[in-house]
């Protein structure tokens, strides 16, 4: 009988904060500058240089803490974490150790049509290190310190995750949260969001945790899932064979899709933490926290409630809009003009997303501005444009970035809604197809659609279909009663 195992997973996520400047000095945090463009005495760890805390970092930490229902620590100190590596010129990283700014929170993760509450153990502030490039040929490493001192929040979950898919859903939810709050761009490709995973197995029903391994370098959602799946398979076969899992740090090699041991990491991990005397204590009063909470943007869950309850959108539509904070902001701007939530959602998520996708564009580079899309929807609702005409106006808007009004003027595309003009079109059509109309009047109601189609054709699609429909019904009624 082979034993069944359950996996126990916890994630440690680092997010780079969307501040203008570094955590302890005024150099820029911009990504993609020249190597060593954003360096200064503090970044270089020059003797006598003193760190001064960036207020915005604390505000961002409090925002994420409150958004994840954490307790905010009143009395905070920074700690020095010592290790030697050339990407860290001071010889220590300034971090928080036993006194993280946020603790004991939770994040609600929508996963497989259910909501899972994942515990947040802690969130702390720290500085990033620089970047190394290794050249084994010349036996040298090249160091770029632009990233050194960029502010990070490390978010440590409780070991509440049970499957790789659940871990990836948690990570997506966390990314969504930091992006909605505006505390980080959450860009995994550029390294603004990085993930390490702790994983152990235990027999199903067992409460005690097994021996865990830590997998580093999981820089995409897919890699998180694949690395965890690989590691579950590896640990399962070890345990089935009666062997032990060794507690160690592993590196995920995405090319080979395997995890490899990072030997030597364990014995050197003696960081000799102590409070950093260069940074005075940080005292967070409740008034400050309340002020920050008052200025916080709407969170994904609040948006979901708003979209489904007040705007009447389906849960599915809400999820599509909430996938990125830009989507929902764009939707809101469209809605502000047209006041029609369902139409705004459909035009944004079906038409616009479809066209953007076909043209490999992102919403940020949409040739159609939200106000113009709102105006287009309003023209449909005001029956100035038929649905069909609106689609061709939309195409033109996408191609030229012009407003719908400009395109309508230019093309003379206005819908015919004048009752006299509609009546004339109907009369002309009836005289053209008089025998068919006789048959319709004598009871062949199936011919109704034929007449609507012919009137629309005569108007080249410009007639208001609802008015055409009514005018034909009136004409038949008149004939039958005469």
């Amino acid at each position: 009988m082979s034993m069944e195992f359950e996996s126990v997973i916890g994630l440690e996520v680092h997010v780079q904060l969307a501040t203008e400047t570094k955590i302890f000095c005024g150099s820029s945090t911009r990504f993609g500058g020249d190597p060593n463009e954003f360096i200064d005495p503090v970044t270089l760890g020059l003797p006598g240089a003193l760190p001064v805390l960036n207020r915005r970092v604390v505000e961002f930490a409090i925002m994420l803490g409150k958004a994840t229902k954490c307790e905010i620590r009143r009395f905070n100190r920074f700690a020095r974490k010592h290790y030697f590596y050339p990407d860290l010129p001071k010889g220590y990283q300034i971090s928080q150790f036993e006194e993280p700014i946020c603790e004991r929170g939770s994040l609600e993760v929508h996963f497989e049509n259910a909501v899972r509450t994942v515990g947040i153990r802690r969130i702390h502030m720290e500085e990033d290190a620089g970047k190394n490039m290794h050249d084994t040929r010349t036996e040298t490493s090249l160091i770029d310190l632009n990233r050194a001192g960029v502010p990070l929040l490390e978010i440590v979950s409780e070991p509440d995750l049970r499957t790789p898919a659940e871990a990836s859903a948690y990570l997506r939810t966390l990314r969504q949260m930091v992006r909605f709050l505006g505390v980080s761009d959450g860009n995994m490709e550029e390294g603004s969001l990085r993930c390490d995973a702790n994983i152990s197995l235990r027999p199903v029903g067992e409460l005690k945790f097994g021996t865990r391994t830590e997998i580093k370098n999981l820089n995409s959602f897919r890699f998180v899932e694949r690395a965890l799946e690989y590691e579950i398979a590896r640990q399962t076969s070890l345990l089935r064979a009666g062997q032990k899992v060794v507690q160690e740090t592993l590196l995920y090699d995405s090319a080979a899709d395997v995890t490899r041991s990072m030997r030597g990491k364990e014995e050197s991990s003696d960081y000799r933490y102590f409070p950093d005397p260069d940074l005075p204590p940080l005292i967070i009063e409740e008034g400050w926290v309340n002020q920050i909470v008052g200025s916080m943007p709407r969170l994904p869950d609040q948006w979901r409630k708003e979209l489904t309850e007040n705007y009447g959108l389906s849960n599915y539509d809400a999820s599509v809009l909430l996938a990125e904070s830009e989507n929902v902001a764009f939707f809101q701007a469209v809605f502000d003009i047209c006041q029609n939530a369902k139409a705004a959602c459909n035009w944004v998520t079906s038409e616009l997303f479809g066209y953007l996708h076909k043209n490999s564009l992102t919403l940020a580079h949409s040739p159609i501005k939200p106000a113009d899309l709102g105006a287009l929807i309003k023209l449909i609702d005001d029956e100035v444009l038929s649905g069909k005409m609106a689609k061709s106006v939309f195409e033109e808007m996408f191609a030229t970035s012009q407003s719908p009004q400009e395109i309508i003027e230019k093309k003379g595309l206005k819908q015919i809604a004048n009752p006299d003009e509609i009546q004339q079109l109907v009369t002309d059509t009836i005289s053209k197809f008089s025998s068919q109309f006789d048959a319709y009047a004598q009871g062949n109601d199936r011919l109704h659609g034929f007449f609507v189609g012919e009137v629309m054709k005569l108007s080249r699609g410009a007639a208001n279909p609802k008015l055409v429909n009514n005018a034909i019904l009136d004409a038949v009624k008149k004939r039958r009663s005469s």
């Binding site: 190597p35 463009e37 805390l53 040298t140 050197s268």
Partner: protein, 95 residues
């Protein structure tokens, strides 16, 4: 007492290579320093919070406004042991 093993561990954490003579000299010197500090053990610190900062300051912030960085060429790169283009260059740090 600081043992030779303690010295070896500290040296390895500090990436220092010590000769056996240096090792035993540092073991003796570090032990003497610790003995000196051990005098503090004669005071009772019951109920006294550990002190991390001697001045009374708290909440010292900078606003999130960029200030000029140092140019790499010039004092920065000439004070570095080695460089390559706009990078600092160091001996290979992976096996």
């Amino acid at each position: 007492m600081i043992s030779d093993n303690d010295v070896a561990k500290i040296a390895s954490l500090a990436r220092l290579t010590l000769t056996p003579e240096e090792s035993s000299r540092y073991a003796a010197e570090l032990s003497r320093i610790l003995e000196y500090v051990q005098q503090l053990d004669s005071y009772s610190v019951e109920g006294v919070e550990p002190l991390s900062h001697v001045h009374g300051a708290s909440n010292v912030f900078r606003e999130d406004t960029p200030t000029p960085s140092l140019p790499f060429e010039g004092e920065v790169s000439t004070n570095a042991p080695d460089k390559s283009g706009r990078f600092f260059r160091v001996p290979l740090i992976i096996e």
